[in-house]
């Protein structure tokens, strides 16, 4: 059965951009992937190799004393023809923020 997984977006100590945790996430085809924004800034996630491909629309920043916003739209992968190849994504607003998904 597919599972649900959440990747956190956290402030990176000493930097003015955030990081994904885990930076590399392994999933099975059909697993639903979402992102939780623990930072005060907004993020929009796109495919790094083709930034015009949006994975996740803008996630607003977290307000003090409010739950961390999570992605509006989950993504799931089709069955990979070559399982195990990492696919990189990044934040369209903060290109330093890069993560990867490995679909088994």
């Amino acid at each position: 059965m597919p599972k649900s997984c959440i990747i956190s977006i956290n402030d990176k100590p000493g930097q003015n951009f955030a990081e994904f945790s885990p930076q590399s996430q392994t999933v099975a085809p059909g697993d639903l992937i979402n992102w939780r924004n623990n930072t005060s800034k907004a993020h929009r996630l796109v495919l790094k190799a083709k930034p015009e491909v949006t994975w996740v629309d803008e996630i607003p920043g977290k307000l003090p004393d409010q739950p961390a916003p999570t992605s509006q739209q989950g993504v799931s992968f089709s069955k990979a023809t070559t399982p195990g190849l990492p696919v990189q994504y990044m934040c369209a607003f903060h290109p330093e923020e890069i993560g990867e998904i490995i679909a088994q």
Partner: protein
């Protein structure tokens, strides 16, 4: 499981169970597999005391291990305790997935439940509670990606599902007391409310206010309107809902620069204000809600007048979350539990059975569930098989019995879509024997119970069905298996230890069997005021570009509409309904739709399955009472002009809409169908003018 295969079989089998005249052969002698696996967990109970069932039921979340899965998953679940007896607390081990605490009350008791929704929405995503408000659809959404990360299907979900008939609001909750005959309004079995999550709201915060509600409720003064609720709690609700309206994430049109704060047309508190101004019960709450009602006991005074037209049937009922749009995902998370209502009077259901067995009738409550965290429609489908069945949180657990011992098994099908059709495997002629004593929490009449075919049929439960069984272990120790026709073994029975002495079988004399309450006598057809026909079906539109089309589930060709009442019944009247299903085996992935109606059970007197029958099966009285029954599938045939014609399957039932006015629902109990529109709003009205002071 394979839905369409399973259900075809299950429908036919359920039909047989109704009549209790099935000619199914006894289970074939086989070599029993070796008994293995875990013991059946005993779910903790919260019991009434002093005519009050007091419980705090929290909807919380945490990492839980799903039976059959190695890694824990984040699940919502019920955590409950008795505020008057802290030892009554469940779950003891929150990391193990399973049902909520079993609630146990006696007929006539007052139920006082503090519902707290403390789900941490940040632990879930892709759903309205945690995702961004103001999306264009209002539904949970997902994209399907190719293996290289490019988008394969932009709108994988909701596809062409439309709010509110789509998966959404999965962390919101309410409580449905399935099988109860109580008021559907205000603090009763009210599924038309939405309790949003708010982990900051604690029992301590609401205790004083709810005690006031419960105290008045015990005096028969349930709140009728918003102003009847304590001022302090109303003030808190107003404050918390306004805070939500001002801070919820929102990036739709007219957004604030920080992406937070809802536009006026999406705000919840103004909707409540409008309802309150019209004297209606508001829909939205946050963090807490008081459930309070009396379980009606049918009594007659000296002149033969009864206090209610229909009392509550003592039996095996259950409770579950019933927020439209999230019932399926919430039940896949496990938000369900048994609700046992007893009648321990000398002639009552429980009192009589216990008396027959000298007070030593051991009970087993078996809550059957399926667990998953992702609905197939929200992500790439990985196959047609649904999650495996778990009973009390374990797969294929074992019950221990002494040779010759009789136990009362209370089985609850709390799955989203699982049909059970099981038989005991016998070994060399010896085997487990059983007699069904109740269906859907309503005891069988003596004539039905004593039918020679009772005990020879398969044990069958559509989603939401319950059966009570007196089960007797054979004299021979060993391992015995309850085997589903599709799923294989679902339960083991280990027969061990010293034989029960003296062994006592099942009641065989009418005097040893519980007296059926008068209100459960067959509905007199001459009292029927109105006949209705209701049709369950589905349609699929052509797939749009860069998207996909999902089958849309309807009743009478329409999907559920909030505030639109589809059927109106007159208080204290009897009606006869024919429930049709036009869905059929030739329609992809369609199953028999388990029809469920809240508040009042019904009696089935005719069934037609065009796939297995040439003529309708007219059942003989006394008729069995149900609250959920799978409508036989239709059958597609070729018409005289070569066109495809569907012969619908159907069943006919009679019900009485008695004792309680108000709004409630009927729906398909394949809960994904209900969430996606296969539900109707009903209202029972009084024909007497009611004058109120202003």
């Amino acid at each position: 499981m394979q839905e369409n295969n399973t259900v075809k079989m299950a429908i036919a089998a359920v039909v047989a169970a109704v009549a209790l005249t099935s000619l199914l052969p006894p289970a074939q002698a086989q070599t029993a597999p070796t008994c293995a696996g875990p013991a059946l967990p005993t779910v903790g109970q919260i019991t009434s005391n002093g005519n009050k069932l007091q419980a705090v039921i929290k909807v919380v979340n945490g990492e839980r291990t799903v039976p059959g899965s190695a890694s824990p998953q984040m699940l919502r679940y019920f955590e409950g305790y008795n505020p008057a007896d802290p030892s009554q607390k469940w779950p003891v081990t929150p990391s193990a997935a399973g049902p909520g605490p079993t609630l146990r009350a006696e007929i006539g008791d007052i139920v006082q439940i503090t519902l707290l929704n403390q789900v941490k929405v940040e632990d879930f995503a892709g759903t309205l509670d945690a995702g961004i408000e103001g999306r264009t659809t209002g539904c949970d959404e997902s994209r399907k990606l190719n293996a290289d990360g490019t988008v394969a299907v932009q709108n994988f979900y909701p596809a062409d599902d439309k709010y509110p008939n789509c998966f959404h609001a999965s962390s919101s909750a309410n409580l449905h007391f399935h099988g109860t005959h109580v008021t559907p309004s205000t603090t009763g079995d009210n599924v038309l409310i939405t309790v949003r999550p708010n982990p900051k709201v604690t029992e301590e915060d609401v205790r004083e206010s709810f005690q006031e509600v419960f105290k008045r409720c015990a005096l028969g003064e349930e709140p009728k309107k918003w102003e009847d609720l304590p001022q302090a709690w109303r003030d808190d609700q107003r404050k918390l809902l306004k805070e939500y309206d001002e801070t919820a994430p929102y990036i739709g049109p007219g957004r604030n620069p920080n992406g937070h704060g809802l536009p006026s047309d999406l705000q919840l508190w103004p909707k409540n204000e409008t309802a309150i101004a019209h004297g209606l019960w508001p829909q939205y709450y946050t963090g807490s809600y008081p459930s309070c009602f009396q379980i009606p006991r049918y009594t007659e005074d000296n002149s033969g007048e009864s206090n209610v037209r229909m009392g509550q049937s003592p039996g095996t009922h259950w409770y579950h979350s019933h927020k439209h749009g999230s019932t399926s995902l919430n039940l896949f998370n496990g938000l369900a539990g048994a609700f046992i209502i007893t009648d321990n009077s000398p002639t009552g259901y429980d009192g009589k059975l216990q008396s027959f067995y000298g007070g030593k009738l051991e009970e087993k409550v078996l809550v059957i569930q399926q667990f998953t965290t992702v609905l197939n429609l929200m992500s790439a489908n990985t196959g047609a098989t649904g999650p495996p069945l778990a009973i009390n949180g374990e797969r294929v657990p074992a019950i221990t019995m002494q040779p010759g011992q009789v136990q009362l098994w209370r089985m609850v099908n709390a799955t989203v879509q699982g049909f059970v059709n099981a038989k005991f495997v016998t070994t060399g002629g010896a085997g487990i024997a059983f007699k069904q004593t109740a269906q859907d929490g309503v005891q069988l009449a003596w004539k039905s119970y004593s039918d020679p075919q009772n005990g020879k049929q398969a044990i069958e439960l559509s989603p939401a069905n319950r059966v009570d069984l007196l089960v007797q272990a054979p004299a021979e120790p060993g391992c015995y298996v309850l085997q589903d026709a599709v799923l294989g073994p679902i339960l083991n029975v280990t027969v061990t230890d010293d034989p029960v002495s003296p062994a006592k079988g099942f009641p065989v004399a009418e005097g040893d069997y519980p007296t059926q309450p008068e209100f459960l006598a067959d509905i007199d057809p001459s009292t029927v005021r109105l006949r209705r026909e209701v049709t369950f079906g589905s349609q699929r539109a052509a797939a749009p570009p860069n998207g996909r089309s999902l089958r849309q589930f309807t009743i009478d060709g329409k999907q559920f509409e909030d505030q639109v009442i589809n059927q109106v019944m007159l208080l204290d009247s009897a009606e006869e309904w024919t429930l049709y299903s036009t869905d059929n085996a030739n329609t992809a992935n369609i199953v028999g739709h388990p029809f469920h109606i809240h508040i009042n059970p019904f009696q089935i007197f005719e069934v037609f399955d065009p796939n297995t029958m040439t003529e309708p099966l007219k059942l003989s009285p006394p008729f069995v009472w149900w609250d959920t029954f799978a409508i036989p599938q239709g059958k597609e045939v070729i018409g005289e002009n070569g066109e495809k014609v569907v012969i619908p399957g159907y069943f006919k039932m009679r019900s009485r809409f008695v004792d309680f006015t108000g709004q409630y629902v009927q729906h398909c109990h394949i809960l994904a169908h209900e969430d996606r529109g296969m539900m109707q709003l009903l209202e029972v009205v009084n024909n007497k003018t009611v004058l109120t002071h202003h």
